[in-house]
Every structure is written in structure tokens, then in C-alpha cells.
Symmetry: C2
Subunit: 335 residues, 2 copies
């Protein structure tokens, strides 16, 4: 039997509401009774029941976080955990808990339940989980939410956070040029997702010769990558460096390049998006466009709390800066 507010009221000989007041600091209480109440709370090991509290206050001090487990890409998951940690950290600092729920492609009911059953005060969700139905539900009920990743659907009042992919490409090109490369090529996985398109845009902005190849790691076999490398090698003057849109592409490319005894970084420079923990252990150590997923989660959480607090209604999108980490794979110039 855990102590309730009544128990401690009885113990001290006051009314439950008085106890409530000292707990919440919601009215001025005489030092004396306050002392006694504090004392009793300690002795009876009292802890307020968050449920009861939420029920009357109408808020749960909990935010929902949707994770996309269906996304079997172990790589993106590995990144996402950083966002999770950041979100939890911000939430904790505000006295909030974080409820996670999986996004299942079949139905978004679990997410809908979160908002409809009043289990959370707001939600952070990855862009791929953002169905129209869900958006309707949340916007119509004025329910606070923040999207991780830039949505295609640019409705007025959707608040989102993303990595600055355009900037990423631009900086990658700059990094290569600065290192003495003349003609980079961009290798993307596809041209469908918005983030790939941003990367393409940034690349095109910065690079006169717009050499871009699509090489999905799923449909694209190793042989195809190898052919691509052969191609690059033949016209070496044309392409002397590659920017890979993700780590798997980078690893396959690296493998194919090395199998041909082409030297990285001397003959071909390689830089990749995403600072996967292993990138620095590769040979050569991979230069990367470091995507700060912690920062992204942190920003998302902060935006969500602003929305929950009701301040600054009209925040639309927010981009998180990327940073280049130069390692061996782009060291053409001998220092």
C-alpha cells in the first residue's frame, strides 16, 4: 500500500488540499505546516500518483516518439538512436517522459491511439510515418507534433526538422575541390526521396559538371558498382572523386576501387554522407559529411515543447547544420 495524499493529510492533521498546495507550491502555506507536511511525506515515502495528477490537469507530461522499425536498414536505425537519446534528454530536462511506439505500415492505429487516448501531450514522428490521415487528425485537434525529416507535403502548419542535405553536398564538393580534386561525381541511392533530391540540388549548385549516378544498394549489384568504377577509371580525367549518399554505397565503392588497385585518395577521392562509427576504421579512413542526429533530435524536441507550451505557433521547418570530417580518403595533397 503506497501512501496517498489523504494519508499524509491525515498524519499531519490537515486537509488534502493543503498537502496538494505544498506539493505544487500553488499557495502560500505557513512554514510550520509546510515543514510538518514535508516531514510526513518523507516518513510515509509519499510519491504523487502521476496518473491522478494527469487526469485532473489534462496533460500527461509525456511525449510520444514514433520509431520506424519496419525500416530494416540497420544503418539508419543506428543513427536514429542518437535522436532518441537527445529527445529523451530534452524531455527529461522539462520533466517529461518519452513514450515510444512503432510505426507499422499496415495501420497507423497505434500512433492514433497515442493522441486519441490522451496518452501523450505531443508527438515526434519520422517523415515516412506521416500519413495524410494522421496529419488531419493531429492538425484538426490542434495536437502538437514535429516531423523528423522534411516532408513532401508542405502544408502550412507542419513543423519539421531535417539535416541540411543541400549544405552537405555543397560542403562535400568544397572539401574535394579544396583537397585538389577537380571533378566530383555524386552517387545517390535514388531520386525519389526528398533528402536525396536536396543532396542532388546542393551538388548541382556547387558543381558545373553535374555528374550524378543512381545506384540503389538493393537493386544495384556489386558488379554494377564495379562497372561504374571501371567507367570512372577509363575517363579518369573526368571523374577524380565520388560523393556517396550513404555508407553502404561508400563501402561497396571503396571495395570495388581497391580491387582495381586504384589508389584512394591519390587517384580517386571518396567522401560519404553519414559518419557511421566504422567509417574511421576503414582503409583509408573515410572522410564524411557528419550528420548530427543528436542535434536533430534535440531540435525536434525543443520545437515540440514550444508547441506544447503554446508559444510560437508558426514554426515551419528547421535545418540542422552538417559538418565535414576530413579523414584519409580525401587527402590528395600531401600535407
Amino acid at each position: 500500500m503506497t501512501a496517498t495524499i489523504k494519508d499524509i493529510a491525515k498524519a499531519v492533521g490537515v486537509n488534502p488540499s493543503t498537502v496538494s498546495r505544498v506539493i505544487n507550491g500553488t499557495a502560500s502555506i505557513s512554514e510550520e505546516t509546510k515543514e510538518k507536511i514535508m516531514q510526513a511525506m518523507k516518513e510515509l515515502d509519499y510519491h504523487p500518483n502521476s496518473l491522478a495528477r494527469s487526469l485532473v490537469n489534462g496533460n500527461t507530461f509525456t511525449i510520444g516518439l514514433v520509431i520506424d522499425a519496419g525500416n530494416k536498414d540497420a544503418f539508419s536505425n543506428a543513427f536514429f538512436i542518437q535522436s532518441v537519446i537527445a529527445i529523451e534528454s530534452v524531455a527529461q530536462s522539462k520533466g517529461y517522459s518519452v513514450l515510444i511506439t512503432n510505426h507499422s505500415l499496415s495501420d497507423s492505429n497505434n500512433i492514433k491511439n497515442l493522441v486519441q487516448e490522451r496518452k501523450v501531450d505531443g508527438i515526434i514522428l519520422p517523415v515516412q510515418c506521416m500519413t495524410g490521415e494522421l496529419i488531419d487528425l493531429m492538425t484538426s485537434s490542434n495536437f502538437p507534433f514535429v516531423v523528423m525529416g522534411e516532408p513532401q507535403d508542405k502544408r502550412a502548419d507542419i513543423c519539421w526538422v531535417d539535416v541540411d542535405n543541400e549544405q552537405g553536398s555543397r560542403q562535400a564538393v568544397e572539401c574535394l575541390i579544396k583537397s585538389g580534386y577537380k571533378s566530383p561525381m555524386l552517387l545517390v541511392e535514388n531520386r525519389k526521396t526528398i533528402f536525396e533530391n536536396k543532396r542532388i540540388k546542393g551538388f548541382e549548385d556547387e558543381c558545373k559538371a553535374q555528374k550524378i549516378k543512381t545506384c540503389s544498394i538493393h537493386t544495384f549489384s556489386e558488379e554494377k558498382i564495379e562497372k561504374l568504377i571501371d567507367e570512372i577509371q577509363k575517363k579518369e580525367r573526368e571523374t577524380d572523386s565520388v560523393i556517396c549518399s550513404n555508407n553502404v554505397i561508400a563501402f561497396k565503392v571503396l571495395k570495388a576501387i581497391k580491387a582495381r588497385k586504384i589508389c584512394v585518395p591519390k587517384q580517386i577521392g571518396v567522401i560519404t554522407f553519414d559518419n557511421y562509427p566504422l567509417a574511421e576504421y576503414m582503409e583509408p579512413a573515410l572522410s564524411v559529411v557528419d550528420v548530427d542526429t543528436y542535434k536533430m533530435g534535440e531540435t525536434a524536441a525543443e520545437l515540440l515543447f514550444r508547441s506544447i507550451r503554446g508559444k510560437e505557433k508558426k514554426i515551419k521547418g528547421r535545418l540542422v547544420d552538417v559538418a565535414i570530417i576530413e579523414r584519409e580518403s580525401t587527402e590528395r595533397k600531401t600535407k
Copy 2:
């Protein structure tokens, strides 16, 4: 304004309790009124308030999951996410939500709050978060919890799940022997943690010559690893294969070996614990002891739910099987 149980009662012209009964199927209701009530629930878009429900039922249909973000080891985090996904999945199948909270070394208050403020019905926590104080709190209040990782402190009623590390070492040795290697060496990070000791034990059980080296990736510089490899190389007859206790060791070892133009797998076989997503992209592709973190999370969740349901009180520990995945790095025999 969201509809409450009263609203729908009023709409149909019945008592709130009747509505409650159809929601919970807790009494026999005439088909007619049941129909009407269901209808009204749809029309008014009614969703039961989980808070109110929990308050009266005394359970939250939520479990707590402690994550160890302080653990800056990006590698272990990458694995842990699989457990998180598994736990969420099991929870969801039972109609439960998952509340995550970070473990901060400074104080375990946030975890304690979870149980004391009745926010969750049970908790899953990593072994490193398991302070004596916390255990006391949970056992004394008969609060269900499951530990991920085998605890040092073997109290009677602590329920834990771990990977079968002993089996892992044994199978790694077997795999090497089967592939034609004669004399493996085990490289562990330290001899302090229980899981390293289990790996050592399994290795010793299986291997007459008990060659074990400690090489913390933090205190152990690349040069030291290189020296180690030099040593191995000199007495090649003695050591012809290494089992690495984690991926970082494996990558550094691989690098050092290759720098010396020693051929893997011909001259030295390499196998490592943990099937990090990149292991298969290494050169040569790394054979691994695959630790099924999904399964581990799943098992933990299942045990927790048994405990919550009050069945099978006395479950102590449970080991999850490992599996060897043979890739190029142990292919001594040409097939």
C-alpha cells in the same frame, strides 16, 4: 472537446456504466443497446481516456525501458536499438506502451520515479543501471522487472536475460577448428565485466592452449595492437587465428594484420563477436558470432509480462543462443 463516456451514454440514453460494460465486455448487454452504443461511439469518435482508466484499474498498460545513453559506445547503442524494437513489438502485441528513460549515473531518480509515481507496470533495465538501491526498491515493493545482461549480484529473485557468451566462444573456437585452424587466441577488452569472463570461460573450456590477451580499445593504442600482431606473426605456428571480443578490436586487428601483408584468412583466421552491419562489407568479410539482440529484447519483454501477469514467479536467468555466421575471414580451406 473530445467525447467522454458520459456523452455517449447521454446520446444513447443509457447509464455511463452500461457504456463501460460494452467497452470492456464485462457483462452481458442486449444486442440492441450494444449496437446503439457502438454506433454512438463511432459517430462521436469516442476513445476511452487511458489515464482515467488506469487510475481506477491501478495499472498503466505501460512498461518502462531504461536506456544507457551515458554509454558513449556508439556500437553498443547500435545493437541496443534492436532490443528496443523487439520490446516495443512484444509490448504492443499485449496492448502495452513503452516508456523510455535514460539512466544517468549521477542519480537513479528518474528510474525510481517511474516505479514510485506509478507510471509503469514493470521495467526492463540494462545490468549496468542496476544499483542496489533500485533493486531494493523494486523487490521490496514487489515491482516486476527484468535485467538485460547477467548481473554480478545474484540475488534470489532477480530475473535477467543475456546472450550466451560462453556458447559464443565455444562456437567460435569450433568454427575455427573446423576450418582448419589449430591454435586460436582470444582478444578481450578487459577481464572485469561478467560477459567478458563468460567469453573467457567458454574459450578455456574449448581450447587446451589458453591464449588470451586483454586489449582495451581505449587504453590500447594502435601501436600496441600492431605489436601484438607482430608477436603472433613471429610464432606463427602457435597462433593462427584470433577471436575478437568486439568489432572495434576486430577492425583494428584486421588493419594491423593487413598492414603487415599477412593474409586473412590464409595465414590468420579472424572471427569477432557481434554482427555489426558493416562486418560483411569488410575485406575480407568478417565471420562473426552473431548476437541476437532482437531476441534478447523479445525474451526480456516476455519474461516481464509473465511477471506482470503474476505467473511463474521464480524465473531467474535466461540465455539467448548465439549463431556463427561464417564469412571470408575464416575460410582457410579452399572449398
